[in-house]
Symmetry: C2
Subunit: 346 residues, 2 copies
């Protein structure tokens, strides 16, 4: 038969997600004047009749990104929209349209897809985006959702434009989605042993909601505009703080000092980390799925955001030669290393 | 655990793809002025600063849309782009950008994805589109490719605007992709029994190529413009001629007479149909995956396209009350029924 009979074999896990995308797309060429930015940021930037449009796409795969034993389908539909809008906001853009494609096996009844679409519709309404297209097909196993989001911007912000001396700022708090997932995983194990056990999830409501029903920071794009703050670089935190700091530093060719005691943590994250005996800083640095925004601003904009409850100043950018470091509470300097996305590892 | 405990259960196959999409998306509301057309055509139409953009998305799923035992990965990457561009051209638009997302299991080595991307790159170059984004993630089983294509148009053409009296026109020839698939399936069975057997695929080169490496009709958009023909309605033929005629008739609220003897068939389709003892008209009507364009034009444009080797006039539109019919070679009238996409049936 007509088959690819490739002799050599390199495991995907040898490269990791970012190495893999870089490797696969390195030969692709941009030929249209309308392409302002292709692959390599939170979204592509296109220009039509002087209007700048951002386009981004993300997939959620059953067994990889979600587990339906604790993820209600309505929440999953909601989350599939949110993770894409977060990438639009990370470009300093306003989200306007989405397309939603679904591959689903016969084991799902219509009622399951209705619940999924209910979540999609709720997110679309709340974030004021039009669902304008999609594809629905069968799959041999499981459920997969692929969303493409489109937005408009007058002033897009890339990852590659941070300057030494800029302040490093993060929205909201970090690590909650990861700890919510740990609680859900634990309860699933308990449930397997004793299905009649009624878990008390009251102490974990915030962190579970952060995992199952995250929100995207639409408000921050407006806030920065109202405060007249123009971020020099911006990225969304989907893979953990350390991974995103590395992206900004690498692409902007700068270094960074990050202060451990400045990393915003919710009390539920701290208490749950103690309960699970996990270091909360590690969770904030590597947990992922927080969908907060990380950005840099010139030092002179400090007075404009000082004391604002939506944001925390967690560090500052340095010359590239000075490297990337976490300054611990004990005032020691530890190099920042990526430990984020490892989905290809078995 | 937190689970969806839905009591009622309706099988997805009860609705079919189109019924399913209609059902799931019926509550979605359009709120942006920039949305000219949402769900319901080959692509959505958006308007930014008076520039009209079309957006479409399609997924290919292993085990549903392709079988890697006869589909080389390079061809699969090529085809994933083509099927999306075909939807752009069906709006009378010029394709400009695509995003490509891939979910892939660990069983694929890097070299497999390199081959896939080689096909993507080849199609992008040949059709002059920029690959501007995407997502690469792991899957628990198999391979899935989700592509979103973007194009520009000055004069989009919908499915819903055909008029009684218009001529029905199709590009290229029909049924070849389906018959190519039948040959490949047969050879796979032969190979299972005797792996040393070298099949003679020479008599099937055209139809196999139509299945494994289809092309999209970029040329037709230009041709119609050069001929100064403005189609009144247009759609791409991915699900078979009868299904697409029904779409145009239903959405345009018109009827149609389709002439069996006018349906363009390649000699290889005719001979392979004889060999397989399948009726070639049935194959053309219901085979699918031809990625040709089906459009309607006003009768007065007849002289402009008469004798053009790229197109065949296969029928004409009538009042809705007259229904949809195939006029057979024996001059009998048979109602046209959809028998296309049945992926949800087990």
């Amino acid at each position: 038969m007509i088959e690819d009979k490739n002799q050599s074999r390199t495991d995907l896990s040898d490269l990791g997600e970012f190495g893999l995308i870089d490797h696969l797309t390195k030969n692709l060429q941009i030929t249209h004047d309308s392409t302002i930015k292709g692959i390599g940021d939170d979204a592509a930037v296109l220009k039509f009749n002087n209007k700048k449009i951002v386009v981004t796409t993300d997939m959620l795969v059953e067994g990889v990104h979600f587990d339906l034993s604790y993820m209600p389908l309505k929440h999953l539909g909601y989350k599939a929209i949110i993770v894409n809008l977060s990438d639009v906001y990370a470009m300093n853009a306003k989200a306007t349209h989405v397309t939603v494609s679904i591959a689903v096996s016969n084991r799902f009844p219509l009622e399951a897809l209705e619940a999924l679409y209910e979540g999609i519709e709720t997110a679309a309404k709340l974030y004021n985006v039009d669902v304008v297209g999609g594809d629905t097909t069968s799959s041999t196993t499981g459920l997969l959702i692929s969303v493409t989001a489109i937005g408009e911007t007058d002033h897009e912000v890339y990852r590659s434009t941070a300057k030494p001396g800029d302040l490093l700022v993060v929205t909201g708090d970090l690590g909650a989605a990861f700890m919510g997932l740990q609680v859900l995983k634990r309860e699933k194990e308990v449930y397997k042993v004793n299905p009649n056990n009624q878990p008390d999830l009251e102490p974990y409501t915030y962190i579970i909601e952060r995992q199952l029903k995250p929100e995207a920071r639409q408000d921050i794009v407006k806030l920065l505009k109202d405060l007249d703050v123009k971020p020099t670089a911006m990225i969304d935190i989907s893979d953990g703080l350390s991974s995103e700091i590395i992206h900004i530093c690498k692409q902007s060719q700068v270094g960074c000092d990050l202060y451990e005691d400045k990393i915003p943590l919710d009390p539920q994250v701290i208490s749950t980390c103690e309960e699970f005996n996990i270091d909360s800083t590690t969770v904030a640095l590597n947990g992922g799925e927080d969908y907060e925004l990380l950005f840099t601003i010139p030092q002179e904009d400090f007075p404009k955001i000082k004391g604002n409850p939506n944001v925390s100043i967690i560090g500052h950018m340095k010359e590239a030669s000075e490297g990337l470091h976490l300054i611990t509470r004990a005032n020691t300097k530890i190099p920042i290393k990526a430990q984020g996305w490892k989905n290809f590892e078995s």
